[in-house]
Amino acid sequence: MKAAPFDYARPKSLGEAASLLAAHEDARIIAGGQTLVPMMAMRLARPTLLIDIAHIDGLSGICEEGAQVVIGAMTRQASAEKSSLVHAKLPLLAAALPWVGHTPTRNRGTVGGSVANADPAAEIPLVLVTLDGEVRWQSEKGQGGCKANEFFAGPMSTELPASAILTEVRFPVWDGGNIGVGFHEASARRSDFAYVSAAAQVQLDGNGKCIRCALGIGGATPFPVKLDAACAALEGTMLDAKDIAAALVADVAGLDIMVDGHASPAYRRRVAAALAARALSDARDAATGVRA
């Protein structure tokens, strides 16, 4: 469990980091390192140059910009977890963050690192996709970005250009009241990699009717997916158990489920339907002020 040899660089600016990345074919960016370091220890990754972006000004921090909350890529997961802005404006992210690894890994792990790493079981990418967020990056050629639903390409694979550095992650903020969220995961033990995870955020009108719905599934699929048809079907309903069950059928049946040694596709599909229903009913109860 020892990494192969590499050179280490600690650039002071994003421009310097981008130049280093462009000049070295086997260079990797390291932020919190909570996935990259074990991958290097197991020699699944063997970069020849590590570019440590932890000391670049402006890459950390959480702020509100228009109808979005912008989280700097280098922001530690633990900082986001403690952020009052995240709790006030991004309740779904606040609900998901305690599920990300354990406290000691959240103290080092970063929001941007989790997104760039694109583990299918990762919670932050799931929330980003569910809320229709965006990512931004910078390379030597300049700035770029895309929608979350265009960013994730497969397990540990994204559309981030090879010489680009993820700089920020943008989460849309829902306007108005009566918003509730639900988040559920199934894993071998608490905070292990999720076999299936489900994230839901809903908004109700004064009569309890759903006027806005976002539902995403992670862990089961090569990358997190938003269940758009189910969301559309649930808007206008009272989010009763039978509404939820009926809305989920087609979307869950259509999920591209991953096959691995941990859980069968049939199990993952069944659990995805169950956790999605649970996340939605939790979100509905939270929006109406009912505590489960």
Binding site: I30, P38, T103, T105
Partner: protein, 162 residues
């Protein structure tokens, strides 16, 4: 490469390969063997140290990355050589260990928990140590040790673990 680390309120300069983990640097270069090497890929928590006061895995950080942070190891938990801090003593009193391999990580994790939360519930203690594996005790007495430490620290009215 030459790096300077702030460890246990002192400054230490070492010459290491960049691929040296903070854990190996602490143990092999600085002879601070309290941080234990378990899984070496971030699962077991035996190598837990405090980085700027918060628990982290020293096996998941290369030594050059640690430059500029305050690193605290279990050696700093005792008030003087040969003595035990309050949390350490509570682990002895409650038999919160058998082989002791996970104990430094447990002590530092407990230290950080009690700094933020002087009166944790049992569930909060279990959550806090959920990233630290113990293969001997079944955890019951570790939780009791942290409860005892919390109680003693509240009574002592001093900074946690000192």
């Amino acid at each position: 490469m030459k790096i300077t680390l702030h460890v246990n309120a002192g400054e230490r300069t070492v010459d290491v390969e960049p691929r040296t983990t903070l854990l190996d640097c602490l143990r092999d270069e600085l002879r601070l063997t309290g941080a234990h090497s378990g899984c070496e890929h971030g699962v077991c928590g035996a190598c837990t140290v405090l980085i700027d006061g918060e628990p982290a895995r020293s096996c998941l950080m290369f030594a050059p990355q640690a430059e500029g942070y305050e690193i605290t190891t279990v050696e700093a938990m005792s008030p003087a050589p040969g003595e035990l801090g309050i949390i350490q003593d509570a682990f002895c009193a409650a038999h919160g260990m058998q082989c002791g391999y996970c104990t430094p990580g447990m002590i530092l994790t407990a230290h950080a928990l009690l700094k933020h939360n002087p009166s944790p519930t049992r569930a909060e203690i279990v959550e806090a140590i959920s990233g630290n594996l113990c293969r001997c005790t079944g955890y019951g007495q570790i939780v009791e040790a942290i409860e005892l430490a919390a109680q003693r620290l509240r009574g002592a009215n001093t900074e946690a673990a000192r």
